[in-house]
């Protein structure tokens, strides 16, 4: 009898669960607008010009074989924050903005030089945005970058971003630039951040397009919408330019943007990205060209891999850290324009020495440059703090002020492999 009563009670309560739930806040997938890129530029007054790049899933799925340039649309709104911006875009579009598929967040250089702390805090606390989303700085207008991007070899713009910003896994031309790393570095006292710097200047175009478009936004102080991105780009290219050229001229990696805290303070040029990757133990694969061991003016191309992490030995001398960095790399000789026989040990040693010198020079340049900004973008402070027993002791060192005074000794060791190379030597007659 007692069990029967309990059963009835449980049944009643279970039924009440279905009665108390509602569908007033249900979210249909078809009713959502999936944002894949967010751009922010300085706007009028305290406002930002926030650009939303929104995928058009129907076009992505039906556009087989076509390029991705028509598969997204952009909306630009003037708002003080991302949340207000979302609300404004919701009023502009027939669908509700959803940020769970954002692949790229791009800020204009001008905004980054002001301060990004508030923006990063709001992004990191937004549950929809993934912590591994790529954050980048655009040398010009973020709005123009998102509008003009043309994913030529990929129909899905989201996939295009994923592949583009994971290129550090197959090249030394870009670096990892994730939101969570950026946030961690900005809150840290032991390192600073360096994130991807993008440029969308067209070849031969020295005018600042960002300012032009930004001003037009300011003057109108209204929202703009443009479907597709390539119309302007294509017209500026002319009919003779190939797809590859077009892509290359419209956007490119332009190095790394260097931050002190949450303010951008400088740039690391493209040729020093490899040094950044080596020192952060992120070099998956890269290529370097050095002079031939024997023949003047001839070049050898070497494929590099970082199989072992850099070893950092820190010693404190009169409160100044002296840091020995041991870099160990594995190289494969890919090709050479000379006729030098690299199976010969002596030639191989000379080439190895050339590679080591080249890498050492690059790493030294990188360190000198970052010391000039006083920003530890490679996170060497993480190894310095190992020398201290307590956090207070490390704080007293004031690493973020001391970095510029630190002394570095770089030791590069390259294990060169030439066995795989097939020589096709054509002697000059």
């Amino acid at each position: 009898m007692q069990h029967n009563k309990s059963f009835k009670l449980i049944l009643l309560l279970l039924l009440s669960l279905f009665l108390t739930t509602g569908c007033y806040n249900k979210k249909e997938l078809d009713n959502l607008a999936y944002v894949i890129g967010i751009g922010a530029d300085i706007g009028s007054g305290d406002n930002l010009d926030i650009t939303y790049q929104i995928a058009i899933p129907l076009k992505v799925s039906s556009n087989e074989g076509k390029t991705g340039e028509e598969n997204f649309t952009t909306y630009t709104v003037s708002a003080p924050s991302l949340y207000v911006g979302n609300s404004k875009v919701n009023a502009l579009t027939s669908k509700e903005v959803n940020l769970s598929h954002v692949k790229l967040i791009v800020y204009s250089e001008e905004l980054a030089k002001n301060d990004l702390s508030g923006h990063i805090n709001s992004l990191i606390s937004n549950v929809s945005i993934r912590p591994k989303t790529t954050v980048a700085i655009c040398k010009n207008s973020a709005k123009d970058f998102l509008k003009n991007i043309t994913p030529d070899l990929e129909s899905s713009p989201a996939r295009y971003y994923e592949l583009l910003f994971s290129s550090q896994n197959r090249t030394n031309e870009s670096a990892k630039s994730e939101l969570i790393d950026f946030y961690t570095a900005t809150t840290s006292i032991e390192r600073d951040s360096a994130i991807i710097l993008l440029s969308n200047k067209k070849s031969g175009d020295d005018s600042d397009t960002s300012k032009k478009s930004g001003n037009s936004n300011d003057s109108q102080n209204s929202e703009q919408n443009s479907t597709g991105s390539s119309s302007e780009g294509q017209s500026s290219q002319g009919s003779s330019s190939s797809q590859g050229d077009k892509e290359n001229s419209q956007k490119k990696f332009a190095g790394l943007a260097v931050f002190k805290g949450s303010k951008m303070v400088g740039e690391i040029p493209q040729d020093l990205i490899m040094s950044h990757l080596i020192l952060t133990n992120e070099l998956k694969q890269g290529d370097i060209t050095v002079y031939d061991a024997k023949e003047d003016g001839k070049l050898a191309s070497i494929f590099l891999r970082q199989e072992k992490k850099c070893k950092y030995d820190v010693t404190m001398k009169n409160d100044i850290p002296e840091i020995n960095i041991k870099i160990k790399l594995t190289g494969h000789l890919r090709s050479s324009t000379s006729t030098t026989d690299y199976l010969d040990k002596e030639n191989k040693n000379i080439l190895t020495s050339n590679i080591e010198k080249e890498i050492k020079t690059l790493v030294e340049k990188y360190i000198q440059l970052t010391q000039s900004y006083n920003t530890d973008t490679a996170g060497i402070g993480r190894y310095v703090k190992q020398e201290f027993l307590t956090w207070d002791e490390f704080e007293k060192l004031k690493w973020n002020e001391q970095y510029k005074n630190a002394r570095f000794n770089i030791n590069v060791d390259v294990d060169l492999n030439v066995s795989r190379i097939i020589f096709h030597r054509i002697s000059n007659i």
Binding site: I10, P131, K385, T390
Partner: protein
């Protein structure tokens, strides 16, 4: 005996493990980051050693009373009055923990899952589920834990392998974090990660092999605590962690295997919901069962409804997340060691003294 029936060893171990998950995945790592900084993992190791020694001594003393729960021990130590006082203290603690857990749960669920849902809906629906769990009975909850615990263990091991590449050992330095004295003197007291182990004092008469269960439960909790701390503090660096009151959720957001395995946090949310359900059900059920025992109540089911309503109402009072965190800190960090170690130790000591005194008197009378 607070409730009838025997519990298998693995049922107890699994339940205590599931109950430990709640503080570990929610606020304990953040509190630790505030107290110990970069030495938080070292603190987890140190507190495990301290808790291990303390509970070993405590259970050794308690071994005389294996067939009695802590209320019986209190009765031996100080008669009916001490039994009532002990019962009420335990009920108060369990109910407070339940209220804080429900408030915390409500806030977190609204932040990460149902941001548009009215908070009363979340609390109400969850407390109804908890009430059903309480009505089904404790045995059912212990069995549900045995189903959940293997998934928890697999989840932790899976997370470990998924996050190993992201672990940066420099995050554990400077090794002594905010100071040696903070770590070794302050840390010795902060053993709230092992709070669920004190449940053994309530279910001791229901366990077939107390020593084995206590030992294995300790290792189970240590596994969850140490692996969670190693992952959280290995992946996230110290200063940024102090602002994050749901670090385990953030950690799961970092897991992905290519394009196919992404958004693993949904699995975490499911495990968290079930663990919270077990925690609340056990807390409320034991509160009512203790009242039933000390006041000889025959039909306690209506009290389960009342207890659930009280927890719901009080959780609605705690609406500010800052207040919830303050209460959690006071209860978990400062009160719980007193209640789980110091108070039982005093009771057992008093009971032992009383027993030896009685024995002496009996011997004297016999002579």
């Amino acid at each position: 005996m607070i409730f009838k029936g025997f519990l298998e060893n693995f049922e107890c171990i699994a339940t205590l493990g599931c109950m430990t998950i709640i503080p570990i995945i929610l606020t304990l790592p953040t509190f630790s980051a505030h107290y110990f900084g970069t030495a938080s993992f070292l603190y987890a190791v140190y507190s495990s050693i301290v808790a291990g020694i303390l509970f070993f001594i405590l259970f050794k003393f308690f071994s005389k009373y294996k067939n009695k729960d802590i209320l019986d021990v209190a009765e031996i130590a100080g008669g009916k009055l001490l039994k009532y006082i002990t019962g009420l203290i335990v009920v108060l603690y369990l109910m407070t923990a339940a209220v804080i857990t429900l408030s915390e749960f409500n806030e977190n669920v609204r932040n990460i899952l149902f941001d548009e849902a009215p908070s009363i809906y979340i609390s109400l629906l969850f407390i109804i589920t908890v009430l059903i769990g309480c009505l089904i009975g404790l045995k059912g909850i212990f069995r549900a834990s045995t189903i959940l615990a293997p998934f928890m263990i697999i989840g932790f091991i899976g997370m470990f392998f998924a996050l190993v590449p992201s672990i940066d050992l420099t995050n554990f330095t400077p090794v002594f974090g905010n100071g040696i004295s903070d770590l070794f003197i302050g840390g010795a007291y902060k053993i709230s990660g092992y709070e669920s182990l004190a449940l053994l004092f309530l279910i001791a008469p229901n366990i077939k092999n107390f020593d084995k269960t206590a030992r294995n439960s300790f290792f189970m909790i240590a596994f969850f605590l140490l692996s969670a701390f190693f992952l959280i503090f290995g992946v996230m660096s110290y200063p940024s962690l102090t602002d994050n009151y749901l670090p385990f959720f953030e950690l799961t957001k970092l897991i992905s295997y290519g394009r196919f395995v992404q958004r693993v946090e949904s699995i975490f949310v499911l495990l968290w919901l079930i663990a919270t359900f077990i925690y609340l059900t056990i807390g409320i059920s034991f509160s009512v069962l203790i009242l039933k025992k000390i006041f000889n109540i025959k039909n306690s089911k209506i009290f389960l409804v009342i207890a659930c309503i009280i927890v719901l109402i009080l959780s609605r009072v705690l609406t500010s997340y800052i207040d919830i965190l303050k209460f959690r800190e006071i209860v978990s960090i400062y009160l719980s060691p007193l209640l789980i170690v110091v108070y039982p130790f005093i009771l057992i000591l008093l009971a032992n003294l009383k027993n030896s005194k009685n024995n002496k008197e009996t011997n004297y009378a016999t002579q």
